[in-house]
């Protein structure tokens, strides 16, 4: 499966280009507005713009559904068989994991089944450089399950991604998940080297 960092790079590129274009357009418009010249705006242009917005708005989700690999996996997770299931409980601002370290084989589809016994929390997996692999909300009284396919070796930390009061910011379990066995992967490599314990 394509790594989430690849998708984020794509998004960075697309949005940066868009931002530069729209800033330039408004800048050009502001300049031209102060100069004499034809002042009419054809209704064709207006309706063309409306059509452009409709196509962009609708096609964005169709494109992402077909290009971001975890989108269909997420929508159809109820009908997909998981290779591994980790049941995780959150209570009193603490993650209670089924093992000290969750071991995952490369290519496994893993279901993280997280439940909260008190507050609304978040559940996110983070790389050693603090970038996010994925996250979900953990709502009490409800099932919070996320299916993910791992295609890269690495050691990841778990962190709460939702505010749950002033104590919530410390909800981090360092190096809680390890993925191994991917071809071409080194173990341990620079990317997946565990960080020194911050105490």
């Amino acid at each position: 499966m394509v790594d989430s960092s690849t998708v984020l790079w794509g998004q960075t590129l697309v949005y940066t280009l868009y931002a530069l274009v729209i800033i330039s357009v408004v800048g050009w418009f502001a300049y031209r507005l102060t100069r004499p010249g034809p002042a009419g705006v054809a209704s064709k242009l207006f309706f063309g713009f409306v059509a452009f917005l409709v196509i962009t708005g609708v096609s964005l989700h169709i494109v992402t559904y077909n290009t971001i690999p975890w989108s269909p996996l997420d929508v159809h997770r109820g009908e997909t068989q998981a290779d591994k299931v980790f049941e995780i409980v959150v209570a009193d601002h603490e993650f209670r994991l089924p093992a000290e370290r969750l071991e995952i084989d490369c290519g496994d589809r893993v279901l993280f089944d997280v439940s909260s016994q008190d507050l609304t929390y978040g559940f996110g997996l983070f790389r050693p450089d603090d970038s996010m692999v994925f996250q979900m909300q953990v709502v009490p009284q409800h099932r919070n399950d996320l299916l993910w396919e791992f295609g890269e070796n690495g050691v990841y930390s778990i962190r709460s991604t939702e505010y749950s009061g002033p104590q919530g910011y410390a909800m981090i379990v360092q190096d809680a998940v390890r993925v191994s066995g991917c071809p071409g992967g080194c173990e341990p490599c620079r990317r997946c080297r565990p960080r020194p314990d911050r105490g």
């Binding site: 998708v7 998004q11 010249g37 917005l53 997420d74 450089d129 996010m132 709502v139 505010y163 002033p166």
Partner: protein, 541 residues
């Protein structure tokens, strides 16, 4: 005039508060208090920018999260609500060419929002009640972390603000439809239908010759449309507040109610439905209305494609009522159908409705070229650019796939929220302030154009810069609503902090310019009673 004379009497002594009507004074009071609370929010924001660079030992984590809770609420209710409501209480009767229905109700609105905001701000400062504005159940009633008395006072403050906004809604709608004493009877139903956009929508399906003339100006129609959302979100927030208060009062009397009696996901849906009426309904609609008003006042021309603009306001009514689920795309228990229909598809419609308002405003301006680049025009263009940047950023995160890696990151709060509010909304409001200043002050002369130009560039660059650097950190995985202790995203946070300094410098320049324009004596005079007739909006020239 010497510096001291200008400081006391205002620029060229052009501002004479004794000439102001009660409505002008009331509107200016809204503006003054709104700007003071904007200053509160800006300083709080700067504290948090510094904290994101290096947690300040002087401020404990409980205090920090107290600030994080107060900051958006003071910004939205204390500042934006005050500025917008104050302006609309003046503009609706001004454009409808009849007095405000109730001056007393407007005064109550002023005091409710002023006092309510101060109550919850002070309470948050003293008791550190910090469930954030999202109030995810059962956090607001978690008495292992928060004291019930502190929470009860905080929620009461919010409730007082909501009461003030409810009074505003009543005043706006009644002003649109009522017949002033001694005037010819006005068609209430037709006025209401036109105000809500029904006439504009029907006109799209009529032959040109059969189209009905509009009897409610377009900006007033936008105010009315936004007020519908305001009424609904007021109801939701008041109801939620009462619910939380019940838990707090019970706790104070020694009875601990079961938090599981309320379904956390249902509550989240309910709460976001109401809250999103502010973010996605009210803000976008009020802003669109203000753009139309500014464009027509700057150009003196009719709004381009007016029926489409009116119809879009009505369509936005459906959109803002059904859009809330984009806040729950990361909630796995949320039905997939709601995620796709409400969270993705309806949300994408905001791109269309806001895009229409953007295009219509630009086309109206274009129709009057060449225009002089005045302060209102440049700030209006800045506001338009802000929303052009922020709305697509929001549409991107309202996608099931992208939300998985963007939810609750700095991306959400940077390029989307802060660019929308600081650049889009605030620059639009600044445009309105610069444009309405002579009208509201009976001809006060701006002290310094250089300061106004600096205000524009510092605010624009600071706002976009802060949003951009927060967004870059968010794309690298930096979360919001948390604390980083080891300088994980330091370069981005330093740059975002510097952008924040630019924003503060812009505010300081603006406030200094305004104080020197009206003078200290003039500023005090705004709060003195006016002896003129309440039904007169502006004195006859």
């Amino acid at each position: 005039m010497t510096f001291a004379q200008t400081l006391v009497r205002g620029n060229e002594e052009a501002f004479q508060p004794r000439t102001l009507t009660p409505m002008q004074k009331l509107t200016l009071r809204f503006v003054v208090v709104g700007l003071v609370y904007y200053g509160f929010a800006a300083i709080e924001g700067m504290i948090m920018r510094i904290y994101a660079i290096e947690p300040v030992p002087l401020i404990g984590t409980r205090q920090y999260f107290g600030i994080l809770t107060a900051h958006p609420l003071v910004g939205i209710f204390g500042s934006t609500y005050m500025l917008v409501i104050g302006a609309f209480l003046f503009l609706v009767p001004y454009l409808m060419k009849k007095p405000l229905w109730s001056f007393r109700l407007a005064t109550w609105t002023f005091w409710c929002i002023t006092i309510g905001t101060f109550v919850f701000w002070l309470d948050g400062f003293l008791t550190h009640y910090a469930p954030l504005y999202t109030l995810y159940w059962p956090l607001p009633a978690d008495f292992t972390q928060f004291r019930p008395l502190g929470g009860a006072i905080f929620i009461t403050g919010i409730a007082i603000v909501m009461l003030g906004s409810a009074l505003f809604v009543v005043n706006v709608f009644t002003t649109i439809v009522y017949t002033p004493r001694g005037a010819e009877r006005q068609p209430g139903r037709r006025l209401l239908a036109d105000a809500l956009g029904f006439t504009g929508l029907a006109n799209l399906f009529r032959e040109r010759a059969e189209r009905r003339e509009h009897i409610v100006p377009l900006p007033v129609a936008a105010v009315a449309r936004g007020s519908v959302d305001m009424a609904l979100n007021t109801t939701i927030i008041l109801f939620t507040g009462i619910l939380i208060l019940i838990y707090m009062v019970a706790e104070l009397f020694g009875v601990s109610l079961r938090s599981t009696a309320i379904d956390a996901l249902l509550y989240k849906n309910w709460f976001w439905w109401g809250l999103d009426l502010i973010a996605d309904g009210l803000v976008l609609i009020f802003v669109a209305g203000t753009w139309y008003l500014l464009a027509s006042l700057i150009t003196g021309k009719r709004i381009f494609m007016e029926n489409w603009a009116r119809a879009a306001l009505l369509v936005e009514l459906v959109v803002s009522w059904t859009v809330w689920s984009h806040h729950l795309l990361s909630d796995q228990a949320q039905p997939e159908l709601l995620k796709i229909l409400s969270g993705e598809m309806v949300t994408a419609f905001e791109l269309i409705t806001q895009g229409l308002a953007f295009f219509i405003t630009l086309a109206t301006l274009w129709s009057a070229r060449p225009l002089q680049m005045t302060n209102p025009l440049k700030f209006l263009l800045g506001g338009l650019l802000g929303f052009a940047l922020a709305v697509p950023a929001g549409i991107m995160q309202a996608d099931i796939g992208l939300n998985r890696i963007l939810h609750n990151t700095q991306w959400v709060v940077g390029p989307h929220v802060h660019v929308a509010i600081l650049v889009g909304l605030t620059m639009t409001l600044y445009s309105a302030i610069y444009l309405l200043l002579p009208l509201l002050t009976n001809g006060a002369k701006l002290y310094s154009q250089r300061l106004a130009t600096f205000h524009f560039w510092a605010h624009l660059l600071g706002g976009i810069g802060m949003g951009a650097f927060m967004g870059m950190a968010g794309l690298q995985g930096m979360l919001r609503r948390t604390i980083y202790l080891d300088g994980e995203f330091l370069p981005y946070m330093i740059l975002a902090g510097l952008s924040g300094v630019l924003l503060l410098a812009a505010l300081a320049a603006f406030l200094y310019n305004i104080v020197m324009t009206v003078g200290l004596r003039g500023a005090v005079g705004i709060f003195r009673r006016s002896d003129l007739d309440r039904d007169v909006l502006v004195p006859a020239r």
